[in-house]
Structure formats: C-alpha cells, structure tokens
Subunit: 476 residues, 3 copies
Amino acid sequence: MGSGSLSGEEALVLREDRFFDPDPAVRRIACELYAGTRNLPIVSPHGHVDPGLLSDNLPWPDATTLLITPDHYLHRLLYARGVPLEALGVARRDGTPVESDPRRVWRLFAEHYYLFRATPSAAWLEHELYELFGVRQRLGAESADRIFDQIGEQLRSPEFHPRALYRRFNIEVLATTDAPSDSLEHHAAIAASAWGGRVIPTFRPDNVFRLASPEWAHAVAALGSGIDGWESLLQALERRRGFFKQHGATATDHAVLEPYTEQVRPEEAERLFRLGQTGSATSEDQRRFEGALLLEMARMSVADGLVMQLHAGAFRNHNQQLFERFGPDRGGDVPLATEWSHNIRPLLNAFGNDGRLTLILFTLDESAYSRELAPLAGHYPAVRLGSPWWFHDSIEGMLRFRESTSETAGIYKTVGFNDDTRAFCSIPARHDLSRRVDANWLARLVSRHSIGMADAHAMARALAYDLAREAYRLGA
Amino acid sequence: MGSGSLSGEEALVLREDRFFDPDPAVRRIACELYAGTRNLPIVSPHGHVDPGLLSDNLPWPDATTLLITPDHYLHRLLYARGVPLEALGVARRDGTPVESDPRRVWRLFAEHYYLFRATPSAAWLEHELYELFGVRQRLGAESADRIFDQIGEQLRSPEFHPRALYRRFNIEVLATTDAPSDSLEHHAAIAASAWGGRVIPTFRPDNVFRLASPEWAHAVAALGSGIDGWESLLQALERRRGFFKQHGATATDHAVLEPYTEQVRPEEAERLFRLGQTGSATSEDQRRFEGALLLEMARMSVADGLVMQLHAGAFRNHNQQLFERFGPDRGGDVPLATEWSHNIRPLLNAFGNDGRLTLILFTLDESAYSRELAPLAGHYPAVRLGSPWWFHDSIEGMLRFRESTSETAGIYKTVGFNDDTRAFCSIPARHDLSRRVDANWLARLVSRHSIGMADAHAMARALAYDLAREAYRLGA
Amino acid sequence: MGSGSLSGEEALVLREDRFFDPDPAVRRIACELYAGTRNLPIVSPHGHVDPGLLSDNLPWPDATTLLITPDHYLHRLLYARGVPLEALGVARRDGTPVESDPRRVWRLFAEHYYLFRATPSAAWLEHELYELFGVRQRLGAESADRIFDQIGEQLRSPEFHPRALYRRFNIEVLATTDAPSDSLEHHAAIAASAWGGRVIPTFRPDNVFRLASPEWAHAVAALGSGIDGWESLLQALERRRGFFKQHGATATDHAVLEPYTEQVRPEEAERLFRLGQTGSATSEDQRRFEGALLLEMARMSVADGLVMQLHAGAFRNHNQQLFERFGPDRGGDVPLATEWSHNIRPLLNAFGNDGRLTLILFTLDESAYSRELAPLAGHYPAVRLGSPWWFHDSIEGMLRFRESTSETAGIYKTVGFNDDTRAFCSIPARHDLSRRVDANWLARLVSRHSIGMADAHAMARALAYDLAREAYRLGA
C-alpha cells in the first residue's frame, strides 16, 4: 500500500491484478495468462516517436517535456474544459508567447488531473509514474511540485536517457512514421552506431496523395527531380519505397478520409496529376487520385513486400480556429462514419486474393468492426484487421474490438497491438495495458469453457507478440 | 419477501440491491456508492411535465390517469402486439368515442404487462407501485382491480396531490418544455405562490424552425406582431428568450431531423423566410433555414447565457395512419442514422471555442457515441454530451453510453441525468434507476482497480447531482 | 475429464455448464433455466438444408462430406489464411480438378483448426463431434485420421441416416428455402411417405426480383407460361405462393441489398417489367422494381397469411475473382450499412398496422438494432425482429442482440432462433448454443433482480420454442 505516511487515497498504488475482472475465477486465469506475456519483448510496428530521440540520445529536461508536451491526448480534456492551450505551453504559429515554465504547466495539469478519471490516459500516466519513476503519490495540486522534482532529478541520470530506456523497456523493434522525402538520417545514424537498437522507418506518403492541397506540388518535388506526370510520380514512389526498405522499413502507412479505391486509366490519372500541378484540383479530384494511388500502393506492395496500412475516417483539423492558431495534431480531429465494402472493393478485387499482399485496415468507426471489417478480414487472404485505433485504444475499446471481430475473423487475422504514440515513455504502459486487457478477455473465454488454457496461452502470446511480428514481417 | 399470504412470484419485491452486478465485490461497492447518492435532491433539467399540474395542484382521479395515460412508452408495446389505442383510451382526432372507463384500461394494461419483462418501463412502474403506493403484489390480470382500488384510495389523500409529491420526491428544480409563444402563466403562478417549488420553463421554438410546415406562419405570428422577415424574426426570438429567462429558464431545446448547421447570408435567409410566408418552402429549404437558425440560437446563447440543447435524429410521425388518427407523440417516431462531424462543424467553428456557450448534444444513434460525440465533447469547450436519450434511457443503454464515451471524453463533459418524462410520478423512479446504474458502473471500475473509492464517490455525486446543476446553470 | 489416456488439453471435454458466466450465482440460475429448455423440440423455421436429403435418406459417405463440404463458414477462415479452396475440394466452375480425397481435405482442415479458436464454428463443430459421434479427442493434425475413421464407421449405421438423425435431433418442423419455380417434389415425397417428419418449403422469389440480371427473364418464365407483364407476373406469384402453401409453406423469404420499398403506379411497374424483358434495366430500375414487388409481397401476405421475411444488407459476390472461379456462396459476401426508417416506411404505411401481416426483419448492420429495428418492432403491429443473422449468430452476437433490442421492444416482438444452416448436423448444436446464451442472459437479469425466476422460465421457453412457432404460424 505504498508509503506508510500516505492515506490510501493519497498514495499511488498500482495493483498487480489491475484491470482484471473482479470475479475470482476470471482474475486468477487472467493473472496466469498475463504472467506469460508481461515480459515478452515489445514489438512496436506503428508509432510516431521522433527517431532523433534515439539517434541523439539527449536527456529530457523535465517531467513536462517528457510526459505532457508530446501527448496531445493530455491537452485535449483540459482544453475541452476551458484551459487555453497557451497555458499548457503549446506554441502558437504567430509567435505570440505562451507559457514557457514547465513547472507551471505541470501544476496546471495536476490541478485538472481529475478530468482523466476512468480514461486510458490516466492508466498510462500512472503506469509511467509508478513503474518508471517510482512515484508513490497520486498526482494532484498538492503533490505536483514534489513529483515534478522527483522526476526531474531522475532524468539527469544516464539510465533515463532514451537509449537506456529503450533497453529497459525491452523493445525489440520500434517503427517510426516518416515523410516520403525524409532523408532517414536518424535511422541511418542509429544503424551505423554501435548501439544496436532496431529503429525502422515507415513510408507514409500522405502529402503526395493530397492533390488539392497547396503543399502538394512541393511534396511531389521533394521526392526527386523530374517528376512531371503520373508515371514519373509512380517511379519516384517506387524509388523512395526502395530507399525506405534499405533503411529497414517493412511497411507503408496511408491516412485517408474515406477508404475509396478506384481503377483509374493512366490517361485519366495523368489528367488529375496536371490539375494538381496547376492548383486547380477539387476535393473530388483528390478523392479519385487517392483512390488510384492506393491501388498503385497495393501493386507496389505485392512487388516489394512492404506491408500496407490504411487508416481511414479522421476528419483532420475540424476546429479551424485552433488549426490556424496552433497547427495540426492539437486534438481537433473528429472521426466520421466510414464505408468499407464498396470503397475498398476495387483494390481487393485487384489484389485481395494475392498472398503476397498484407493490407491492414484501421477504422475509427466501431460500427464497421462486425459489419464490414471482420467479414472482409475473415475472407480475403490479403486483409488483416488493424488494432483498435486512437480513441479506441482503451480498455473498453479493446474489449469491444475483440468481442466484435473475433467470432467472425478469429484472432489470427488481426495484427496484435499498435501503440501509435509520440510519447516514448508511454510505450511500455500502453503495451502492458493491452496485454492485460487481452489476458482478461481470454480469461473470460476460459472461465466460460469456450477455450482451454493451452489455447489461451497460445492466443495471449500471439496477441502480445507473434502476430505483430508476423503481420508486419518483422521476424527477419 | 413481502406479504406472507403471497407466494414469492405473486409478491412484488423490490430488492435494495437491485440492478447491481451479482459479483459480491461489485455489489458491495455499488451499494456503498449508491448509498451516497440515493438521497441527493433531484435536479430535472429536461422533461415534459405539464406545469399546470403544479400550478393547479389538483388530485389525479385514478391510477390510469396517473400512470398510463401520460406515458406513451406504455401504450407502445401493447399497440405493437395488436391492442388498439382506442381500447387504451387514447383520444381520436375525429371524435370517435374511445374507451372511457379507466378501470377497463387498467385491466387491459395489466393483462399485457408480461410484454414489459426486462424493459425499463417495468422497472420504473414497479418502483412507483412499491415505493409510492406501497403495492406489494405483482401487477397482473388477477391483481389489477385490487391495485387500481388501492391507488385510487390513496390519490384522494392530500399527500398525493402534485405539490406534496414534488416535496416528497425531493425535487430541487423541475424544467418543463414550452412553445416559444407560451404565456408561461403556470410558471408565473407557481412563482407568485407561497409554495416555493422551482418549476422553470425551457424555450423550445421547433415550430418556428419548420419552415415547410403549414403551421409555420401561425407559429411565427404567435411570437409577436410585425414579424415580416428574417431580421424581425431574430429580434422576436431574442425577446421571447428574454421573457423565458425572466421566468427562470436557463436553457433552450431544439429538435431537428439532422444536426445540420450552415452560415447563411442574411439575404439568403430573407429569401428562405419569404418562401415560408408564401407556403412554397421545400424540405431542403427548411433544412437550410433550420441550419441557419441553429447558428443564430448559438449566437444568442453566447449573449444571453441560455444553455442550448440539441436533439437530433427522430423521424417524427413515421406511422402516417396512426398520426392522422391520434396525432403526434403516440409512439410512431423512429430514429435515424445521424451524422455529426460535418453537420455541426459550421456552428462549432463559429462558437465551439467560446466558453460562454454550453451546447448539449443528444442522439438516438448510439454508433455516434464513440465515433463522433465523445471526440467532439472531448475537444470543444462548448460541447457537452447529453444523457442517453429516449430508448437509451435504460439499464443497458446507460451502460453503453458510459462505456462508449467515458474513456474519450471523461465524465466531466457529460451533464448527468435527464428524465425527459411527461409522467410526473416516474421522475423519482427514473433518477433512482440512473443512480443505480452509475453506481454499478463505477463499482466495476473500482473492483478492477481502475479508480479508487474516493474518486468513485466524487464521480457518483457528479453524475447524480453536480453535473446537471453545473451544465444547466441551475446553481444560482 | 474424458479418456484417461489423454492429457487435459488433448481430450475433448464439453462441460455441462459451458458458455455460462463464471459467477456462481449466474451460472447456477443459467443451468436451471437451460435445464427447462434443452430438451424442447427444435423448431427450425428458416434454413437451407437440401430437402432431398430427407426424401432420399441416403447415408453420408464420410466426415468431410457431412461436416466440411456444406459449411462455407468453415472454408472461409482457411481461405483467408491462404489455403486455396481447391485444396478443400470446392468444385471449380471451369471443371479444373480439385482435391477429391475427403480424408486429405479433413486433414487440411484439422491442421488449420486453431484458426477457429473463440469462434462459434468451433463451438458447433465440437458439439457435433462430442454429442453426435462420441469423439473424445480434440481435433488436430495428429487426431485427424482417427476421428475421420471413427465418424466414417458410424455413418454406415442406419441410426446415422438423415431421417433417423431428424428424430434423434428432436426436430418438430424443418423449413427449407426454395426457388419460386421449384417443383417441391422432395417435400411432396416426404409428405406422401409414411415417415411423418415435417419438412416444409419457404417461398424465396429473389431471382424474380433481380430485374437487371441476365437470368431474370428465365426466372420469370420458369414461374409459368404467358407471363408478359407486371399484372401477369403478380398473378403467377400468387399462384406459386398458393402452390407452396399447399405443400406446407408458412413463410416467404426475400433477400435485398437495401430494404427499399416504394408504391409504384401499375403503368410504371409495367414499364420496368418491359425494361427487364429487353435486358435494358439498370440497377436503379431493379431497386424500384424490388421496392414495388416487396409491397406486393406484403399485400399477398395479408391475403394468404404467409409470413414475410426480409433479409437486407449483404453485398453478394464481393470477390469477383472467387465468384467467377467457384460461383456464389463461397464466403465472398460482405455486409453493408443499412437504412431502415426511410426505406421500409412505404410498406409499413400501407400494411404495418394490419394484424394479418407478420413481417420479420433481419439485418447484418448491428448499429440498426437499437437505432431503427427495435423502435420499429416496438411500435408496428406487423413487425417482428429476426434473430441475429449470419455473422451475428454467435455468443457475443446473440448477447448484443438481446441487450440492444429487449429494453425497447421486449422479447415478445422477436421470433426465437433461426439456425439458417445448410449443414444438417449442425442444427442441434446451433439451437443448443442459442438456448444456452439466452439462459445465461436471463440468468444475468435474474441475478440483478430485474426479473424473477417464474418470468425467466417463461421467457426462456418463449425464446427457445414458443416464439418461433407463433411468429412463423407453425402451431397448426
């Protein structure tokens, strides 16, 4: 029960059997299954950690920079209750000064920490505080300063530098997400170093897809010189994929508003390309261009073996005022209902029966889990179900995913867990939570006599480790 | 086990720990949490009780008039199994006589009471019978007459008059829902009386929104004289809002088919207004007119501080034949899939970042909870999630709401409970059920070590009392 | 724990209390409720068993022909993990030879059986192996041959011939699904025989609905001679319905992409008919033609009393390549989001208040359960909710159905269970699983004090037996 000088409610206590059902039979089985997966290495095939962190290996200056700044999940709920982002130290595009004292940001966060009750953000943060920094006090207005100091002191020690934490976290491989024109210098530097951690890039050419964006021409030009049409664009993309593959990439990633795909004739694709060049493409032109490019990405994946990830359904920068003031990725993204059966059919009819393709589908529209995604994954050899994404990477969200997809597609058409995070230190917390939720789900099945313990152990390991390695081709 | 002369199955028994999980750990915690909220005053910020009930304070004549007549939830399932509404005493528009003997209606209801097994209607009704009238027999064909007489006798006593029950129910404030042209005479009479109950109106100008309806011109004229265009309509609405505010209103309410909003230029709004005047507006014209008016309502709310409620997605009067025979609100309303992210964006881009606005969103499309509504509420300062509405005001419905929204938006972006009822005597039953369901949900979290008991107590109180007062600005 | 020579994990053990919650209170009540329904006769009002099976009464040659071949649920997950359908013995349209050795197919299936962990297919198959054939070994690569031989030996015995199994399964009535032009010779032969089993046809005129299909004209011609327009088509359909009714049919069945209905004027219907005759109908023409025919089917049902089933939302033959190689019903069907409120309204406004019509609605879009279907069934006298269909005929799927619909529509607007299977020997397994899931759902309600035991027993019986007989008018 932690420090004796704290009352039960002031002490931060992480129970060994947390997040498991209270039923004694389920809890006992869940503990046993979790014991078999908790120490497996972390395979992180999809995320947004800055690779410079691990190539530079510089210490973090303080708790705010480490834990709050890179995690816009944490900014969201404060902003939604009226706290200005400026007060949280989020930089403004126009250069207006914002709060620059990390301690004051930390205090502000601590005062509002009650907003996170029953959220996964709280579960992750408490895991980090407790397991990584040995904090034994609950975060709040009164404890804020003491915890800030405690973390700050530890961050100065070499064992809290990024590469040391990578080892401590038992990470086997960490995939980043990178622009298609990226030099991958950090990945190269890590590979060339004696350190030996495996940090690999992921090819994410979204900016080349957004034909109607003012930045499109620049994004295309950044891929290489002489790109003057559809064919040369495809060739440039093939070259860049090859470059990523040389630097260890095993996957591409694609974010689209809807998962629309279309077989577009080359002349028509060429015409769309020229509309982009002249800045006259409409959002409908972009939709078809993206639909055509997705088909090309699948074709290239068949050829070069890069696993293809497709994330659909996020309306980005929904809050125009916030976007103008702070830029993207500030919490103003809102999901949409997403149609898959019609939209993805042209791609699947072209490549869905080809065992060389692995296409991983992610959605923010949970109603599609049982309606479209599990039936698609339970039939097409190429299709895999991505893990519960974003808002659904949560205890109830993960449970809904398993309960809605497993009976139709089984677990062997899923891909294990994605932490999908920018917040490096939250990686073990997120994987741990996922392993706990899966262990508990399996324990329920065992306790209902749906599966036996040997199967449950095999399934728990598959969900925690094997499936991610297999689906993302990371075993080599 | 109730009266000794009844067998277990004939006796009506309400267990103290009803609706809690059977797991002993969860049940014990749920009982403890519920003990902390069961006696809190009732805050009822949204409902449809006739204010005349409390200004006139006349006794109800019999059980049918009290319990069956105002509750079309109860008519529904009988009608759906073939019982004519005429036999339930529902008045026909054409004046054809219908059943007028309340005892016969009561008997008919009692004979079909088995249809309500496992429904919230049964839970509410049994709470009323047991707690309010001391009934200790289950309702059925054999007990119908005896229970009818038992209730009838009690209704003659002054302690069963409406104002006495208001006190007995421990109601702190009761909001009604009123047409924009309402004189609010009942509210004024209550305020002027020595009684001291707080019964406040809610401004619901739906009839002014329905541009294509034959009643539109009449509804506009009822707001005041000289309304001859868009600008004068807005001024009239501002005046009427002020009038409602003077009578205690803290909120407006708006029911729309879809939550479409649009920034419409004044000239265009003027043109739409004139189409309404000439009776030539189409449903598409109405959609844009409503979209423009919703933006104006938000603008006015920023100015006058009235909380804005938006209920979307009910296809009213789906059953044309029933509507023609009996009028609206007879059970023939059917929900629709509802899009929020695109539709509500113009309004939120105009006012969503303004802390002076509180916009409460209600849906009948549960797939939007986790997909659109929780992400919107978890980001925009102005947005709050309305409580589970209508068909979803039920045990499983409330649980799905909590499980689908809390991890993304937390509970502090929700508004507590709305009973939304016309049936005055069901108010305590409905709040009690809600408090039980929330206590049980929190007990599950505690028993899984997701939250501690102190947090759970604070959350239970927030859900039962604090959030409704805060969100609806009822604390004053 | 089965044979002493097997370890716990190698032995196939079916627990008496399988699929019940581990909570001791729930489990005890579930066992008691299930004890009251497990031996009730099987009413199978909707399925796809070949009636020739029971008229010819020929033995099955081997385990593969009995258990694997008619069950494309089992082919699906193997294909989805890269096993060619040819290797499973699925015939190709082009006559290319496929695997013809049933033992090799069985082995291949057994090697991949782990893919079915946590799926209903595994629950059904293990029920069949254990209960029907006395298998006490888990299926896997090592046990495949032994189990294949064990089943093969038993199949030669007369007690494993189809009619003997029909008796052993305690089937009261079995409905098949038949083309509208079917001669119903097997049904006639069974009726004329001394055997006495009740095997009845269902009128499913889908091929007459698909106006834009190249097979449409042929399907119409097969209904009878002289069909040269809309009116004569309707007359032919009425005649064929009468013929089915003479052979015992009590229901029709209709599969449509969307449940669109429309009141079409006769001249317009005539025009659409002629477009079909000339092969120039578009998919939009077909949509309206189907919408008009559904209204006519409802009208005929009012007249002749055949119960009308409507299955909407399956995009058939989504995988074009698979369809071309193997034909329909090979797993390549994917659900769609389905709108009901608008689409079905014309039909319901015409016939929804008519107590002579029973219209049973099935969906693959679970988001419609609580949003549209339960509200429709909880209001319109004619409407009933079909049981959880296809992918949702599973433990979690059935539970979601009950939890999403019961509070709004009660259980008395549902129709019990449909096994919907081509796999004759899976019928008892499927009904048993359904009875277990319902018993467990009711046990949860009892243990939460939502309902009492007498009500729960009555509800369990209704869900297992009474409602299917009543809704499908099978009591006569």
